[in-house]
């Protein structure tokens, strides 16, 4: 029981951090594929100002793409983004939202040059409200996801070691309790595998049960918090596809994948723990 509980906690945490890591990786990928610089115009800026800035930027030869987003288009994007929240929808009209220019560089090394170009242009014309660098967002995300990875990794590692030690102790105790039987088995000619296998299998079962129960709880949490998760992540198509319907094949496939990963790790952890004990207490 203690062994299964330890495995359960290990996998609950490992599974949780695994999911968080995957999620942040997907978010990162999403942002990295987005335009790298967004220039928001002041209301007084005209379509011509935008075209002029566009050609200035394109003249540098360092842009992969430059796209003009009008106030109306911005509103459409906004509406799809917050379609589930009527309050937010009502508050906003196209007047409030700025027009913008979405700029991608041919390589990250040119971002500074482009930023410089934009700044110089703005000094002359003063039509730019704000410049947002995706790089800042991405950097923040990277440091967050790294922090999650490190904290989660260390915690999961400690718990795994703990679970391993508990499995070793429990199996060691079981071996001690069945000393008489083991002696008799050796006397009548049981092979060493015949004697060892039940203990190895028992350790493996602890891992499998711990992982399975952790999986059940994790899946329960995901289904329970699905609406919350969706509202956070609805900008990112992958999550919408996976989470939108808990009976869809994609959701089930993702769940099955998680199950496979947890159970295989649990099996290995359990086998390793019992193998150490069997090696130590079942010498021949």
């Amino acid at each position: 029981m203690a062994a299964i509980l330890a495995m359960f906690l290990t996998f609950l945490l490992t599974g949780f951090f695994f999911l968080t890591t995957v999620t942040s990786a997907v978010i990162l990928q999403y942002f990295e594929g987005k335009p790298q610089i967004t220039v928001f115009f002041r209301d007084k800026a005209t379509k011509e100002d935008a075209t002029s800035l566009t050609s200035t930027l394109q003249a540098t030869g360092k842009t992969a793409s430059v796209r003009y987003v009008t106030k109306e288009e911005a509103l459409v994007t906004y509406r799809t983004l917050f379609q589930s929240d009527p309050l937010l929808l009502e508050m906003v009209t196209s007047d409030i939202l700025p027009a913008s220019l979405e700029v991608s560089a041919t390589g990250p090394e040119y971002l500074d040059d482009l930023a410089q170009t934009i700044a110089t242009y703005d000094e002359k014309s003063d039509i730019i409200e704000e410049v947002v660098y995706q790089k800042d967002v991405v950097d923040a995300l990277i440091s967050w996801s790294n922090a999650i990875k490190i904290v989660g990794g260390v915690l999961a590692g400690l718990l795994a070691v703990d679970a391993l030690l508990i499995v070793m102790t429990v199996i060691g105790m079981k071996i001690a309790l069945r000393r008489d039987e083991i002696e008799i088995l050796k006397l009548v000619g049981a092979s060493s595998w015949y004697i060892r296998l039940p203990f190895l299998w028992e350790g493996a079962l602890y891992g499998i049960w711990g992982a399975t129960s952790a999986w059940v709880v994790l899946m329960g949490l995901i289904v329970w918090f699905r609406p919350v998760l969706l509202s956070f992540l609805e900008a990112i198509p992958v999550f919408v596809i996976v989470l939108s319907n808990p009976t869809s094949t994609t959701f089930l496939a993702a769940g099955a994948g998680l199950f496979g990963i947890l159970v295989i790790t649990g099996f290995l952890l359990g086998i390793i723990g019992s193998a150490v004990s069997v090696g130590r207490y079942l010498k021949f």
Binding site: E181, E183, I184, L187, V188, G189, A190, S191, S192, F284
Partner: protein, 231 residues
């Protein structure tokens, strides 16, 4: 065939338990191993089942050279050489049937075959009607019969018995000897160690007398004639 060839055994930190033993026991023999306490009887039996290895000399059991059986092959020897002890070594939480079945389960036999063989062996030791009882519900003599049944189920070639009658009154001991002789009559080599010389004399079997780690005498008594060479 069991052949001791100048075999000695010294336990660590102890003077010789066996010194320079040379003796041969042929297939199908019945041999009593007698001698005072500490003479080395148990040591001889433990060598034959490869519980321990000789310090010097060569011990052959069938095709096996005892000193050089790898640890992961010992179970093959143990299937051919089975043992019975003074304290029975039965599992208290298993029935008579289950205790005997262990002797076949380790051989990987099928359930049906196990059931058939166990009941056959139990009738050989006259316990077929007690197969559902637990060891503690049996008399000492009956427990020893269960332990003999477990040893001979699966048909070993050699049966070693170390003081099997040590805990039994003379009548019950006699029953056990009868059963061992019956086991011997179906072709199994039986070697029984005991310090009770009295019951042995009546039985008129080959008797090896050990004293202080050496063979004092090797007598072939009565009807059972051993033609194999003795060294």
């Amino acid at each position: 065939m069991i052949r001791f060839d100048h075999v000695s055994k010294h336990y660590p930190g102890h003077r010789g338990a066996l010194s320079d033993i040379t003796v041969e026991i042929a297939d199908g023999e019945f041999v009593y191993l007698i001698g005072p306490s500490g003479a080395g009887k148990t040591t001889m039996l433990r060598l034959i089942m490869r519980d321990i290895v000789p310090t010097s000399g060569t011990l052959l059991v069938d095709e096996w050279k005892i000193a050089s059986i790898p640890a992961n092959q010992i179970h093959h020897l143990r299937r051919r050489v089975r043992t019975v002890y003074q304290d029975f070594k039965l599992l208290a939480d298993r029935t008579v049937y289950e205790n005997v079945a262990v002797g076949l389960e380790v051989l990987g036999k099928a359930e049906g075959e196990i059931a058939k063989d166990v009941m056959k062996i139990l009738s050989l030791v006259n316990l077929e009607d007690k197969y559902r009882q637990f060891p503690l519900q049996l008399s000492a003599g009956e427990q020893q019969r269960v332990s003999i049944a477990r040893a001979i189920v699966g048909g070993p070639k050699i049966l070693l018995a170390d003081e099997p009658t040590g805990n039994l009154d003379p009548d019950t001991a006699g029953e056990i000897l009868d059963i061992l002789e019956e086991v011997n009559s179906i072709g199994t080599t039986v070697i029984m160690a005991t310090h009770n010389a009295g019951i042995v004399n009546e039985r008129k079997k080959r008797t090896l007398t050990l004293d202080d780690g050496t063979i004092h005498s090797d007598e072939v008594k009565g009807r059972y004639h051993v033609s194999k060479k003795k060294t």
